[in-house]
Every structure is written in structure tokens, then in C-alpha cells.
Amino acid sequence: MYRPMNSPNPNSLKSRFTKGFVKALIRINKNHPRSASSSISSSPREIRRRYHKIKTASYASMACAVGRRRAWSRALLWKIRNQACNGGVVRRSIGSRSHYSMKKRVEQNKVNELRKVVPGGEGMDTWSLLEETAHYMKCLTTQVKVMRTIVEIHSTTT
């Protein structure tokens, strides 16, 4: 826990995510080879699909790095697998209505909004939702950091 920042921890969430994500990127590049200046040749549709693949790969590798420990990672993996199978099945459960006063209703609406944003948040109570949100935020920041670094490296080398 008190590891110095310089020495990378091979088992950290960041390393695991990075490995998985880079592998996925390599795989995507292999399947769809593109030259650096071929923005014209590839249609917007292809570009969109490629972007979607990259985005999915990012989320999937993060969810895999987290494993099945967290509800949100499980939900994310489930969703991705379903997307792969049959073009996306969205599972929605209706949150409970609150009978409280106006202020509490507003708050409950916000909580429901948070549920929509966090994967797997639909079927959770508020307390677990907040916990999942915290972990999800942490993982998202890691994701963003790594992706940004990759982009930088990529843009400096090409």
C-alpha cells in the first residue's frame, strides 16, 4: 500500500487495465488495418464502428481488470457480452417511487439519474449505489489517464 510511485506495481488495477487495453487495441488494428492518412478511404460508418470498438474495448478491459468483485463491473461485462451476442439488450428495472416530500422526491430523482449513469446501478439500493459509484469513478479516472498516455505516445511517435 505504501509502494513508491516510481516502481510500477504489476498487479495494480492500472497495469492490468493497460495490458488488456493495449492487447485489444493491437487486435483491433490487426483486424482493421488503416494507414495514417486514410481518413478519406474509410467511410464514416466504418470510423464510427471502429470508435465504438475502441470504446468498448476500453470499458471491457477495465471491467476485466476489476473482475467480478464489483457490481458495476459485472453489469458492464454482462452488457458487453450481450451487445456482442445480439446487438444490445438493455435491461431496465424501474426504481422505486418515493412517497416523501418534494425535496426528497427531487433527491430520489437524482439518485435514479445516477443509477442510469453507473453501470448496473438499476438494481441496487442507494447505499450500494454510492459505493459502486466511488469505485467506478476511481476506475474511470485510471482509464482516462492510461488512454491519454497512449494517445500521447501514439501522437509523438507518428
Binding site: S39, I40, P44, R48, L130, T133, M147, I150, H154
Partner: protein, 469 residues
């Protein structure tokens, strides 16, 4: 105190009547075995803190409860299975259950000691101490009166936790049972306060019963206490309610004086406290969050999560290269709701900046940025999608200022200077010289002109920044 002494007397009488064990019920016999075995064990086990505290600390209170229940289960079951044997085989049965209860008692006592010492630290310690004390109290109550020497060590250990109980029970009492903690001997009052901690209703029921039924009640009391403790501990991982020290070793929550004591409001209060605690933790994760109230805090959390997701999207798009090709994507993305997370206060960005006019982007970086900013601000008022498209056409993208500052400060590439568009606002110094067309990001801060005179820093959410990928 009175019920306490009464119970002691009964147990003694029952012990003496052990010859007629056939008349006892199943639980009675079970307790009998516990008593006899405990009288052996208590004299033999010194009270030493155990390294088992470490294993205990690592487990959550839920796991600990399951552990305890599982360890208890076989012993109870095995003892129960043997009953009711004829009186002549009593010694055999006592010997048979000796090991189980001896190990149990030693384990619980050692855990309880370590828990008692560390009870200030964690709720799990208090839960474990509570459970340990429960069993220990049960065992102690079932002792024969002869082992005075053994009583005092137990009394000592119990006194520690009894102090907790006494201080806590002074605040108020959930149960209908009155707490006789005003005086009396240490041992007895601590015992009594132990009883207070474990469910007044149960204890009240036990006390109100006729003396003959105390033993079966005791067994059920223990079982029910475990069930109640489990439920209560599950509900209160964060510690007890207000008005009680967080290190209380009881699984139940004390109510403030004058507040409702029905379980619903207590559960509700616990729930609210837990949620508030989590919100505080989340608040620390979200940058620049000052919690005013729950709704706004939730808003900030939602926006931050959306922003992070948008960042992932943008980063996965930026790898594709070619701004022109990405423009349709951007339009889609902005319509997806990416505009929510970009906190742009585009309240008219055309004040007093027309002097910069129509200089082209090639003239100088500064001017181009300024012109771009104007355009973007104007566009953002009308339509977020077109603003994004415009930016993408220039090879720029939009991100909140926190990211911008993070990028500019974190990376060590030479950067284009940061600028402010408004004439009033001071200029943020750049990181380095004007580098060559470096692929590294250059960050530009677009401050809405309506930020007023001051407020360069403004609120982070009210500023947008434009960056070159």
C-alpha cells in the same frame, strides 16, 4: 440486579439437581452441560491476549458473525444431540462436550479481550466484543457459585466492556427494561449492563418468565440474540447512532433522549447516516466539490461521472485521427448528451472582443485562439452540436477546465501558452516557449465573458477549455 441474582440461584439449584436430569428439558440439559464444562474450563484458561485477534480484525463483522455461528452451531448441535441421556451418562456427555465449549470459551474470551482493548477502533470490534460477551456472559451465568477465583478474572474482563455499557446506557435506553446501573457491585452491574445491551425486549421477556423457565429462555435468548445481533450488526456497520460512543460493544443502536425508538425510525436514521457518510467519501473524490446539500452533491457526482465517460469517448475517438472524419461522430456524441458534462456558461461571449476581428489562425496562435473562442462561445449558445462540430473542424476538442489544468501541469512537453480571452482577465503564464507544432496538447482556457470583473478562477464548472489534440 435482582434478576441477576435470581438467575444465579436458579442455576445453582439446577446444578445441584443435576441428578434428576431426566426431568429437565432439552435446553436445560444443554445448559447443564455448558455449566459443568465451563466450570472446568474457566479454571484452566488464563486470560492472555491471543494472536487470533489478527484474524479477527481482518474479517468483517458479517464474516465474523458467520464464523461464530458456524463454530457455535456444531457445538450446540452436538450437545443437543446427546440429550437427554440418562443421568448416569452425564459425565460422559460432559466430557464429550468439554472440548468444544472449552475451546469456544477460550476463543471467545481471548477475542473479547482483544476486542475490548481495541473496541474503540472499529465497529467490527464492537460487534465481536458484543457477541463474545454474550457467550461469555452466558457461560458465566451458568457457572456454579463455587468458583470464585474464576469469577474475578471474568469479572475483570467484563468490567471493561461493562464500562462501555454503563456509559452508553446512561444516555438512554431502547428497551423497556430499566438499567440498574446506579450502583451495586461491579460484577453484577456490569453483568446487568451486559443484559441491557442485548435487547431489552428479549431480556424483559426472559425476566418476566417464571424462574423455572429461565434456562430454556436462556438458550433461546442466546439464539435470538445472535439473530438480532446479526440483523442489527448488518444494519449498523458504521457504528451506533448519535449520542452513543461509536465504540459501543453492543449491536443495537441507542436512541437519543426524546426521540422515537421504534425500529423503523432507527433503521431509517441509520440508513441516512450511512448514505451521508458515503456521500462525504464521494465528495472527496470529485474535484472542486463543496457540499452544500445532498441534491447538489448528487448533481456534481452525476456530472463528474458523465464527464469521465465523455473523456473516455473522446480519447477513444482521438486515436482515429483526422478531424474531418470525426466531425460526424462528434455531432452524434454531443447529441448523446455529452453537452451535459461540459459545464459551459456561454452567456454571451461577444462583449468587447470584436477588436480581435477576423484574424486568421495562421497569424499567431494567440489571436487564432481568441477568434476561435469567440466563435465557440457564440455557437455554444445556440447549439452544442454545432459548436462541437466547429471545434472538430479546427481539430480542437472541448473539455472542462480541470482536465485542462491537469494536462497542462502534468505533462512536460513544451506547450503553447494559456490564454484568457477576456480583456479584463489576467493571462495565465505558459509552461514553456512556443513549441513547434508539437503533437502534445495545448490548452486554452475559454472564459465566458460574463464571468464579470473578477473570477478568473471562477467556478471550475463555469469554464470551458479548448484543447488541440
Amino acid at each position: 440486579m435482582q434478576p441477576c441474582s435470581r438467575e444465579m440461584q436458579e442455576m445453582n439449584s439446577l446444578l445441584n439437581a443435576s441428578a434428576s436430569a431426566s426431568q429437565l428439558s432439552l435446553q436445560d440439559h444443554h445448559h447443564l452441560q455448558q455449566q459443568q464444562s465451563h466450570s472446568h474450563s474457566s479454571q484452566m484458561h488464563p486470560q492472555t491476549p491471543n494472536p487470533s485477534a489478527s484474524h479477527f480484525d481482518s474479517a468483517t463483522h458479517d464474516d465474523f458473525l458467520e464464523q461464530m455461528l458456524s463454530t457455535l452451531g456444531p457445538s450446540w448441535a452436538s450437545a443437543a444431540d446427546d440429550a437427554p441421556p440418562p443421568p448416569s451418562s452425564n459425565p460422559d456427555n460432559v466430557v464429550f462436550s468439554y472440548d468444544d465449549s472449552a475451546t469456544l470459551s477460550s476463543k471467545f474470551r481471548s477475542q473479547q479481550i482483544s476486542a475490548g482493548s481495541g473496541a474503540n477502533k472499529s465497529a467490527s470490534a464492537s460487534a465481536a466484543a458484543a457477541a463474545a460477551m454474550m457467550l461469555q456472559h452466558q457461560l458465566m451465568m451458568s457457572r456454579s457459585g463455587a468458583a470464585d477465583s474464576g469469577f474475578s478474572p471474568m469479572g475483570l474482563s467484563l468490567r471493561n466492556n461493562g464500562d462501555f455499557d454503563r456509559s452508553n446506557s446512561d444516555v438512554g435506553d431502547v428497551s423497556s427494561f430499566k438499567s440498574p446501573n446506579t450502583g451495586g457491585g461491579d460484577g453484577a452491574s456490569s453483568v446487568q449492563s451486559l443484559f441491557n445491551g442485548f435487547g431489552g425486549s428479549l431480556h424483559g421477556a426472559a425476566n418476566s418468565q417464571s424462574p423455572n423457565f429461565h434456562h430454556p429462555q436462556g438458550g433461546q435468548l442466546l439464539a435470538q440474540n445472535y439473530g438480532g445481533a446479526g440483523a442489527a450488526m448488518n444494519q449498523a456497520p458504521a457504528g451506533g447512532s448519535a449520542g452513543a460512543a461509536p465504540a459501543q460493544p453492543k449491536p443495537r443502536v441507542r436512541a437519543r433522549r426524546g426521540q422515537a425508538t421504534d425500529p423503523h425510525s432507527i433503521a431509517e436514521r441509520l440508513r441516512r447516516e450511512r448514505i451521508a457518510e458515503r456521500m462525504k467519501a464521494l465528495q472527496e473524490l470529485v474535484p472542486n466539490a463543496n457540499k452544500t446539500d445532498k441534491a447538489s452533491m448528487l448533481d456534481e457526482i452525476i456530472d463528474y461521472v458523465k464527464f469521465l465517460q465523455l473523456q473516455v469517448k473522446v480519447l477513444s475517438m482521438s486515436r482515429l485521427g483526422g478531424a474531418a472524419a470525426v466531425a460526424p461522430l462528434v455531432a452524434d456524441m454531443s447529441s448523446e448528451g455529452g453537452g451535459d458534462c461540459i459545464q459551459a456558461s456561454a452567456n454571451g461571449g461577444t462583449r468587447g472582443r470584436s477588436s480581435n476581428g477576423n484574424q486568421t489562425a495562421s497569424s499567431s496562435n494567440d489571436n487564432s485562439m481568441t477568434v476561435t473562442e469567440h466563435q465557440v462561445a457564440k455557437l455554444m449558445e445556440e447549439d452544442m452540436g454545432s459548436a462541437m462540430q466547429y471545434l472538430q473542424g479546427k481539430g480542437l476538442c472541448l473539455m472542462p477546465i480541470s482536465l485542462a489544468t491537469a494536462i497542462s501541469t502534468a505533462t512536460c512537453h513544451s506547450r503553447n501558452p494559456l490564454l484568457q480571452n477576456s480583456n479584463n482577465n489576467p493571462v495565465i503564464p505558459s509552461n514553456g516557449g512556443d513549441g513547434p507544432s508539437s503533437p502534445s496538447m495545448s490548452v486554452l482556457t475559454v472564459q465566458s465573458a460574463t464571468m464579470g470583473n473578477g473570477g478568473v478562477e471562477g467556478s471550475v464548472k463555469d469554464a470551458t477549455s479548448v484543447s488541440k489534440p
